[in-house]
């Protein structure tokens, strides 16, 4: 098993004729994930370099290719919310948003519509999702290094950071373990899918024996997971690496590497996240290399 993407994933890419979209298409095809259609309004009727048909609308793409069950949003920030809502409106069950810098107000609309339509939205600013040997969606794991970094295994990885999704997965793989699924949930203020949403899926997944999260200062998503662990809703072992403690002396409101990484005192600080996760029973990793050491204790 695995979560979110697997060998049954059939993808559409919105923005397939753009730089990010076409690169994601080749990378996904290289990993044997079928990308059977693309959408770029105004370019309907064309074919991409890989021979993938391009349509003007999601509705048309779905009509021609009813097996599509996931869409990657790789369009510029100005058009991204509209593209995501188009996919959600057409009830594609999984919508993965790669685009960064979408205004919070627009993300709020995407989330509200996703809830209404029962669509799983991952992102914005998500590097992608990979279930090693099965499928991947997004820009996660370039073909040059994907098999060195990701290996099939029993660890579920959830990260606010794309780079750290790969770094942590590589460290897990080099320690002789592997991943069931690794997910970049993005570091925006509002997230389509949170740590807890993913942890709930991992909790039900037979392949997953432990969960690793990479969290950051700002927001309340790490605390929300801690509450669920404390309430025994999440019973699989959770190992957490939380970044941004250095920022405690910076002015409140300073925004760091991700839009959601907002310096705050008290609730939302790295210290408070670590404290609540620890209290709930999660293991706290001090460095990325500390993760496999802790994993070997619980597996």
């Amino acid at each position: 098993m695995s979560i979110l993407v697997d060998k049954h994933t059939v993808a559409l890419i919105q923005g397939i004729t753009g730089h990010e979209g076409s690169r994601a298409a080749s990378e996904m095809l290289h990993y044997n994930t079928p990308v059977i259609a693309g959408v770029t309004p105004g370019k309907g009727g064309q074919k991409t370099e890989h021979g993938i048909p391009v349509y003007n609308s999601v509705e048309e793409a779905l009509r021609r290719h009813p097996t599509i069950n996931a869409s990657l949003i790789a369009v510029p920030p100005r058009f991204a919310a509209d593209a995501a809502m188009e996919a959600i409106w057409n009830s594609i069950p999984l919508v993965n948003i790669l685009t960064e810098k979408i205004p919070v107000a627009d993300v709020s609309r995407i989330i509200a519509l996703g809830r209404q339509q029962g669509v799983q939205v991952i992102g914005p600013s998500s590097v992608g999702i990979i279930s090693p040997t099965q499928a991947k969606i997004g820009a996660i794991g370039a073909s040059e290094l994907v098999n060195r970094v990701f290996k099939k295994g029993s660890v579920g990885v959830i990260s606010k950071s794309g780079g750290m999704t790969a770094e942590i997965s590589r460290i897990i793989t080099e320690a002789g373990l592997g991943q069931s699924t690794a997910i970049g949930i993005g570091g925006d203020v509002l997230l389509g899918t949170t740590f807890l949403d993913c942890a709930r899926l991992f909790e039900k997944d037979k392949q997953t024996k432990a969960i690793v999260i990479f969290g950051e200062v700002g927001g309340s998503y790490e605390e929300e997971l801690a509450d669920a662990i404390a309430a025994k809703e999440i019973t699989k072992p959770v190992i957490a690496l939380i970044a941004g403690d250095f920022s405690h002396s910076l002015p409140q409101g300073t925004v760091l590497g991700h839009a959601g990484a907002i310096v705050s005192q008290g609730k939302g600080s790295a210290k408070s996240k670590i404290r609540s996760l620890k209290k709930a029973g999660a293991l706290i990793a001090t460095t990325p290399e500390n993760i496999p050491v802790l994993l070997k204790k619980v597996l």
Binding site: R23, E27, P77, E100, K101, I102, P103, V104, A105, D106, S108, R109, I111, A112, L113, V127, A139, I140, A142, L145, V149, S159, K160, S161, G162, G163, M164, T165, A166, E167, S169, R170, G187, V189, L190, T194, F214, E216, V217, G219, S220, Y221, L241, A243, G244, D245, F246, P251, T254, V255, L256, G257, H258, A259, G260, A261, A270, T287, P288, E289
Partner: protein, 355 residues
């Protein structure tokens, strides 16, 4: 982006919310620009200015010069005012608190109301909103009743006007505290705190924070940059700056950033660090680093520790070795076999051993 009070109030007025009559003044302004009693308010992006000495009431015009000069000279949390706002003093029957923001627990817009306004408002009543439904009369009434207030027409329209501002400007926060209630039942905004979305107003901005230390940092990746700053501080290093570049930047972007970061005074070392990149072209970004490095005067002789992994990392390191040999830079190169945190210890050792 945090707006100053007068900028926020201009937005409130644009959306039909009453604000006190007032004038913005510069240090050149002599004498009160409006009738007394008046309030003089420091225009700095900091909360709780009243308690921190940024707000004064004057009752006679003669008091203006002394009161204004004191506020001009008062830095609040390090901010020195460029402007002061002089406003008519409002006589109110009560003060309320209202705000709109996004809540990360509900992942939806949230209306907060407190029947008691003023400084240090904490326990507000919170109502989760749906961005598609907005704030129709019935919801505004419900929210006001829940906060223990009478849902009067002027109060409902003030809430709705604030909602219009919030969604139309794509703001992250729109707050009025205090919201003055006048004898005739109308409302006037005593203050305005509006935070606009950087993704709307400054999409090209890159987080850059000066930290006052002596190790220059070029960190890649939003998350990796933060975990690496943590590691550097734990290893005893003093970072000169926080900066982050990610998303496969062009070499030019890295070149300009390198020049900026390495132009800081009194550097003892430079740390270029990132995790395993998914798709960032390591050769391209490190080429940008070398180009930036060459343009820094005086020529850096301090140790430069580089830890990177990702597409074209080997080619990039071969290029760096050649550059180090031919141009004599003090490079220390590490790939994925060296943990990021170990490279933090290395730069700290090398940087502080030199002297």
């Amino acid at each position: 982006m945090n707006l100053l009070e007068h900028e926020g109030k201009a937005l409130l007025a644009k959306y039909g919310i009453s604000i006190p009559k007032g004038k913005l003044i510069t240090p050149r302004t002599k004498g009160s620009p409006i009738a007394t009693p008046a309030v003089i308010k420091s225009q700095v992006p900091v909360g709780d200015r009243g308690r921190k000495g940024g707000i004064t009431v004057i009752h006679k015009k003669a008091e203006f010069a002394q009161a204004a000069s004191r506020i001009w000279d008062t830095a609040i949390d390090g901010h020195i005012p460029q402007h002061l706002l002089v406003e008519e003093a409002i006589t109110s029957t009560s003060e309320r608190y209202i705000s709109l923001s996004y809540d990360t627990t509900t992942r939806a817009p949230t209306l907060a109301i407190n029947a008691k306004g003023g400084s240090g408002t904490a326990k507000a009543s919170l109502i989760q909103l749906n961005i598609f439904i907005g704030l129709p009369d019935f919801l505004a009434r419900e929210a006001l009743v829940a906060a223990g207030l009478t849902p009067s027409f002027p109060l409902i329209s003030t809430l709705q006007n604030l909602w219009q501002l919030f969604v139309s400007e794509k703001a992250i926060l729109a707050e009025i505290n205090p919201l003055f209630e006048l004898k005739d039942g109308s409302f006037v905004a005593g203050d305005a705190k509006v935070v606009l979305d950087d993704h709307v107003v400054a999409p090209e901005a890159r987080p850059y924070v000066q930290l006052g230390g002596d190790i220059a940092i070029l960190a890649s990746g939003g998350g990796a940059s933060m975990i690496n700053l943590d590691a550097l501080m734990k290893a005893g290093g003093k970072p000169a700056n926080y900066v982050e570049y990610s998303g496969n930047p062009k070499s030019d972007v890295v070149r300009i950033l390198t020049r900026q970061v390495l132009s800081q005074p009194n550097l003892k070392g430079c740390w270029v660090v990132g995790g395993t990149a998914n798709f960032t072209d390591i050769y391209e970004t490190l080429l940008g680093f070398v180009e930036g490095l060459r343009s820094v005067k005086p020529r850096p002789t301090y140790p430069i520790v580089i830890r990177r992994d990702g597409p074209r990392q080997r080619e990039a390191f071969a290029m760096l070795e050649k550059v180090a040999k031919e141009e004599g830079f003090n490079f220390h190169l590490y790939g994925p076999e060296t943990p990021m945190s170990e490279s933090a210890t290395t730069i700290v050792k090398l940087a502080y051993q030199q002297k």
